[in-house]
């Protein structure tokens, strides 16, 4: 009787051990939510995947696309592992007590800029008085708008802000508004390529706020610090590689953008080059890619608070975790 029992037990143990071992060597799966739709701006992660940086860390990443304001709560609630979101969004979330953590910075310079057709004669913030400005009335773009107005002493009541979602280009070219707020590395390139003569008022001339970066939920830091470290390291390597091999990086991006026509490919290449310019700043050249200065965060928070965008301030070390950066 005992002998029979052993004969049944042995294969079970063997199979169990094999499965366990195989499972150990299989990479950990995780998801990264990137904003809206595939875009060359996500190059570091496309590169990290293609060049095997994730694989080397034992991680398999699935790319997800959705609005940052939808991804952030999911990440904070632990329903999603990682996402990309703007620094201002992190500050807004934290002011509502939402437990997100900012790990690594993509845009060392704050991307939004005010753009107007040259014919409007708008060159500086003061020219915006009594004009109509179109922008998505939330998040990064709204913050930039308020910050630009605030730091140049123009009252918000002196301008007319209109919510146009992500239809900035059409709104500007159809002259439905006088100026729009767009990302300096993206829509400006497109407008120039369409042959429009434009004036740009970049936000980094007026203040230094923190731009988009990699975020995760507080729980992830506690439960899976190894995974977090892997993601951050692979991401930084991706940035590094892309900066050194821009053409190859672009080719890798194209794999995620099969619908692009020839004309658009040229434009997107320029967008990538413009984006890479803002991955670096004086500070990142000092400390390394992905670093953001806690003071820049404090300044951002202060600005948002005095502009009435947030009602509560949080201590920076509660949500800024640079410990995973190389």
């Amino acid at each position: 009787m005992k002998k029979n029992f052993l004969w049944i037990l042995l294969p079970v143990v063997i199979v169990g051990a094999v499965v366990f071992l195989i499972d150990r060597s299989r990479p950990q799966k995780t998801t990264l939510a990137m904003t809206f739709v595939p875009n060359v701006q996500f190059a570091p992660w496309y590169v990290a995947e293609e060049k095997g940086f994730f694989r080397e860390e034992g991680v398999e990443v699935e790319f997800d696309y959705r609005m940052d304001i939808d991804a952030l709560p999911l990440v904070a609630a632990g329903k999603m592992d990682f996402a990309l979101a703007g620094g201002d969004l992190v500050l807004t979330a934290r002011s509502q007590g939402i437990p997100v953590v900012y790990l690594m910075c993509l845009y060392a310079k704050f991307p939004p800029a005010v753009v107007a057709l040259a014919e409007t004669g708008i060159h500086k913030p003061e020219d915006l008085i009594s004009r109509k400005i179109g922008l998505p009335l939330y998040g990064t773009s709204l913050l930039a708008m308020k910050a630009i107005l605030h730091s140049s002493g123009v009252a918000e009541t002196d301008v007319e802000l209109v919510d146009i979602g992500y239809g900035q280009i059409a709104a500007l070219t159809e002259r439905l508004v006088d100026a729009v707020v767009v990302f300096a590395n993206n829509e400006t390139v497109q407008l120039k390529n369409m042959g429009y003569d434009i004036n740009i008022i970049p936000s980094w001339d007026y203040f230094s706020l923190v731009g988009h970066g990699l975020i995760t939920g507080e729980k992830m830091i506690d439960d899976a610090p190894d995974l977090v470290g892997s993601m951050v390291r692979a991401g930084v390597r991706g940035m590094d590689y892309a900066l050194e091999h821009p053409d190859e990086a672009f080719a890798i991006c194209l794999k995620h953008l099969p619908e692009l026509g020839e004309e658009q490919k040229k434009i997107e290449k320029e967008v990538l080059m413009a984006s890479m310019e803002i991955w670096e700043s004086g500070y990142t050249r000092q400390k390394g890619l992905g670093y953001s200065h806690p003071d820049a965060w404090r300044e951002s928070q202060e600005l948002m608070y005095s502009a009435g965008l947030i009602q509560d301030k949080t201590s920076v070390d509660e949500f800024l975790d640079l410990s995973f950066l190389p």
Binding site: I69, G165, G167
Partner: protein, 259 residues
Amino acid sequence: MDKKRILQIIRRNYEYFSLPLGLLLFLLIWKTAAGFYASFILPSPVEVGTRFQEFQRQGLLFRHFFVTFLEAFAGFCLAGVTALPLSYLLARNTFLEKIFTPYIVGLQAVPIVALAPLLVIWFGFGITSKVLIAALTAFFPILTNGVVGFRGTDRRFREMMAIMGAGRKTVFFKLEIPSALPVLFGGLKMGMTLSVIGAVVGEFAGAGRGLGYLVNTARGSFDTPLIFVALLALAVLGISFYLFVSLVEYLTMPWKRRG
């Protein structure tokens, strides 16, 4: 009053008790579910109530409510005024129907969410584009029901009218319209509630005011209780529209009243 009497009263008038009881049950389920989630995912009824009071005090809620109400109502009227006559034409004339149907079906198949941004670009960010989007959304159920209603005139009634010597105009006013009313109202009820959806979709595509716009701005500041306030306001708007059409239906069709 003892327990038996109370139960008796409730049983006899259960219709009147069902609405508040249903509401209570809904709130109970909500409160329980909210206990399992952080307030930025699913706020509790109390949190939403507090946020509502706060927002109300700022006097903004009514402004947004009124804008969406206007957009939806105007859109609905526009849809009705265009769809009803067209439905009669299509019901009575098979030749026209064969020509128009492919275009109508095609247009109906295009999701309004995809068309809305285009309409906002063409017609601006003001109320016009929202009215058009709402009208477009309400148009098809009104049209479809109109065609069914006008087509469904009983042949025997038509013959009766002919025997009585009725001319085309008389047949239209005294037979075709009253005969089609029940089905028409079904379409109008659908159209009325859909027009609210249309208005909100329009606001999502680009607006400066309205309940849909409010949902968006609340999303952007992670103010989930405010999202719920806006959603509940939208529900109230939809329900009141529905009740309005039902009232008109009740008054217009006395022969359908119970008892």
